[in-house]
């Protein structure tokens, strides 16, 4: 175990230094087949069941480019406002590693499919930062090593290793930013907001599952600091595989504090890769990395160049969805939500669901109450997402309608939702089978009110004396009498009328 590094307080670090970031995000595409062969790409299959001579790198096997992968790469490039290459090639990145079947990775080097773009990201404080994109290129994923024995799960100390090649050859897009400068103290927030915005964008493009916890989106964070006002960037470290939005923010913040401590102590930053530890919130030294890391790139001779026609690029441009940030603004204004309400909706992952619920006839307020209120609360409590319950926008719209029509009160509606989640059917079916319905018969309600007043004369007297708050206790009694199937507002109205000072 490595020695814990010194860190300085973050604000203190930022008072003396300017951070510069560079983010490299790897995204696994959700194509049905791998980048260079016909193997399936599903997550979680038995090890080495989604393999063939090509992705196992058997002697003689040859790659063939997955056209869908190229299309996705171009769409990502376009969505990131990049130029799309007229002509580009794959290149071999040569290095030995057991989880890489050919001992070279088919990637792109100096001829990426997309380059020179940008993504505007909105920070939590409402400000916007333009992240310049250097390039987006196509490559293939490696297999996965499992180190068995030893305590850490790392290769050091393991007794043996197993390799699963199911992931080998899955299409990856690597998106590399230009150096992010001028962020000041907001650097960690910019990093997080960028990765979040990228994730939303890729999701809207429907090109990836973008599930950071499953590794279908992985972030490497390059961090350096330089004395305030300096122009020459400091030596950078590359923190690998930071796999949640929160970790992106924390890792960047940690590196800034750590590097500041090193420089303050008169030391110099080692150019190296570092590992992020989610549990302890620190990075530790990996292997030294230099600009001279020699991968002996050369154009992949087994593949022909990719030369997308301008007509093809234009056709793909037509398929781009509305940018997520723009869409959120449009919907917020259409639904009349406050900024806070919209943020809750976004955080609950409920934008699409609410849109569909409103389309199905619910009011925006009603839709929001269910999705980012009741269901979000349940999801939080159970560690799920709102879409995990099997509740559809049509269900919510129907339930909203039943409340609006006066058939259900709020507590009954929640019971109906229980039934829907339990799979008892549509809201109407659940209400019918569970016998949930507000009693509309006024005479029954009136009889109950009379009975409760008669039985609680001291409280009734207080109400007659003008202490209207006391009516609450009576309403409770009436609801109990009616087994909850009464309209509480109506009961209150009736009680107050009967106990009015001028009533006889």
């Amino acid at each position: 175990m490595s020695i814990t590094d010194e860190v300085v307080d973050y604000d203190e670090a930022l008072a003396a230094y300017d951070p510069v970031l560079g983010l490299e995000v790897h995204v696994e595409l959700n194509t049905a087949t791998k980048m260079f062969c016909g193997c399936a790409t599903g997550f979680g299959a038995e090890p080495n069941t989604q393999v063939c001579p090509v992705c196992l790198g058997l002697p003689g096997a040859l790659p063939v480019v997955n056209e869908k992968g190229v299309e996705a790469a171009i769409r990502i490039g376009l969505a990131l406002n990049c130029s799309i290459a007229d002509w580009c090639r794959f290149a071999r990145k040569n290095y030995f590693y057991p989880d890489m079947p050919k001992n070279f990775q088919t990637s792109q080097y100096d001829e990426p499919i997309a380059f020179d773009g940008y993504l505007d990201v909105e920070l939590e404080d409402g400000s916007t930062y333009r992240v310049e994109i250097e390039r987006a290129h196509m490559e293939e994923d490696t297999g996965k090593s499992l180190h068995v024995g030893g305590s850490t799960g790392r290769i050091q100390g393991a007794e043996y290793s197993l390799v699963d090649y199911n992931r080998a050859g899955i299409p990856l897009i690597e998106i590399v930013t230009k150096p992010l400068t001028g962020t000041g103290a907001k650097a960690p927030l910019v990093a997080k907001a960028y990765v979040a915005a990228l994730r939303d964008l890729l999701k809207a493009l429907n090109v990836s599952d973008v599930r950071m916890e499953q590794g279908s989106m992985r972030c490497d964070a390059n961090v350096s600091i330089m004395p305030k006002g300096a122009e020459k960037f400091g030596t950078r470290t590359e923190t690998k595989n930071v796999n949640s939005l929160r970790s992106v923010e924390r890792a960047v913040r940690y590196e800034i504090s750590r590097q500041a401590a090193v420089l303050n102590a008169g030391g110099s930053i080692l150019q190296e890769t570092r590992h992020w530890h989610e549990d302890t919130g620190v990075t530790t030294s990996g292997r030294p990395k230099s600009d001279a890391d020699d991968y002996r790139y050369f154009p992949e001779p087994d593949l022909v160049p990719i030369a997308p026609s301008r007509a093809e690029v234009d056709r793909l441009r037509e398929t781009l969805p509305e940018p997520p940030a723009q869409r959120r603004k449009r919907l917020q204004s259409a639904w009349g939500y406050s900024d806070l309400e919209m943020r809750d909706v976004v955080n609950a992952g409920a934008v699409d669901l609410i849109e569909q619920t409103v389309e199905a006839g619910a009011s925006p307020a009603g839709a929001r109450k269910w999705w980012s209120g009741e269901l979000a609360r349940r999801a939080n409590a159970e560690g799920k997402t709102v879409s995990d319950f099997g509740v559809t926008p049509a269900h919510v719209a129907e339930l909203d309608g039943l409340v609006k029509a006066g058939r259900l009160n709020d507590s009954m509606a929640r019971q109906v939702m229980d039934g829907v989640i339990a799979g008892e059917g549509t809201p109407t079916q659940v209400a019918d089978t569970r016998g949930l319905e507000l009693v509309q018969d006024d005479s029954a309600l009136e009889a109950a009110v009379d009975k409760v007043i008669a039985a609680n004369e001291p409280i009734a007297a207080k109400v007659r004396d003008g202490k209207l708050n006391a009516a609450g206790a009576l309403i409770g009694q009436v609801m109990k009498e009616m087994k909850g199937q009464a309209d509480a507002a109506k009961a209150r109205e009736l009680i107050l009328a009967k106990l009015a000072p001028d009533a006889s």
Partner: protein, 503 residues
Amino acid sequence: MTDIIHTSAADLADALAAKQLSSVEVTQAHLDRIAAVDGAVHAFLHVDAEGALATARAIDDRRAAGETLPALAGVPIAVKDVVATQGLPTTAGSKILQGWIPPYDATLVTRLKAAGMPILGKTNMDEFAMGSSTEHSAYGPTHNPWDLERIPGGSGGGSSAAVAAFEAPLAIGTDTGGSIRQPAAVTGTVGTKPTYGGVSRFGLIALASSLDQAGPCTRSVLDAALLHELIGGHDPMDSTSIDAPVPPVVEAARRGDVKGLRVGVITEVSGKGFQAGVRARFTESLDLLAELGAEIVEVSCPSFEKGLAAYYLILPSEASSNLAKFDAMRYGLRVGPEGVVAPSAEQVMAATRDAGFGDEVKRRIILGTYALSSGYYDAYYGQAQKVRTLIARDFAAAFEQVDVLVTPTAPTTAFKLGEKLDDPMAMYLNDVATIPANLAGVPGISIPNGLADEDGLPSGLQILAPATRDERLYQVGGALERALEAQWGAPLWTKAPRLEESR
């Protein structure tokens, strides 16, 4: 038909179609020949008698049932060991793949099988096709049937020797810098390197991906055309495969007419410095072509002189990457490092590659790794690619003036085993005439054009054509072969010494 093994594949196919012979008879005759002479020739690394006979029986049954079969159905064939054959050992002549049995067939093997051709076995070669003599095979050299003390050429010496020794009527070779044509020349046989992309590379254990091409090894031009037609054509599994029909090679071989054709002699590869006997046969071939009505034109391809240097940068560069997969992790040899108790994967990789690769392979891996290194890339790999472009331009300019180009295939006849083994540069020079075609992707054929006076050994004539115009090789080759055989009174192979048959 009494002499099966001395019969051409075309004639065997006719006899099979006419039911004068059965495939089992033909296949067995060749298996018997292999048993009798391969101890001395060592053309084969693996013989699959059982599998070949099973295919032969199946074809005979289908023919008996009245089925219409492909032209070469029932004609047996040998396959170079660099080609993946499902269920048959495939080593590429290397220890590192000893015992590896591919779980899949190369596309060309799939086509041979679909055509009903019994596969006799796998032929010997220089390790990973690196060499011009088969002496770099990890399993011992192949011997030239014309003189067992001499090399059969390389890297595909096994395929050419098998055909020359009548152990197989047909064989598959691969040609990265001359590995089909040079062995053909020194064994008195025919060998074609098709246009790059003309025959699928899927299943060929790659030496240099941008140069490798599979093709036929035979004893006649027509046989080569028949096999070329069968294995050629588009393959969606090979991205570099040409998506166009196979050129009309068989028709061209049968026509064999050069009247009015312009034949170019390349100033830079006209035989200067080549063995006298080779040069003499080349000049005679030119005279013969002129007699047949061709116009002989001299053209200059100044960049060809840099071809060898460019080739020995591009090939090792690609090879160093292609051979990286042999790491003991998934298949093939696995050797632990000596004296290490719990070796790491990296140590096992290093120990295995040290034990599994021969010296020539290591030499080229080191060359290629160096040439691709950052800081050297532009000076070596980058420059070599530029030379490659220049050579392609030279070809393009030449083919504006002429229909085909001709050269002697190899500078010398077969040299003695061991003679050049310790002199890589001398060995590399064998391919000086054949390499430009690989660098530019154009097709080439070597046909026997006589015996050198000084040693009585075969020499070869190389014909080159523009990319995708492979039929011209056969048109010219067919015409010249007919004229030469008319002069000789019989095919050249009739002059070969009889091999002693052992039982």
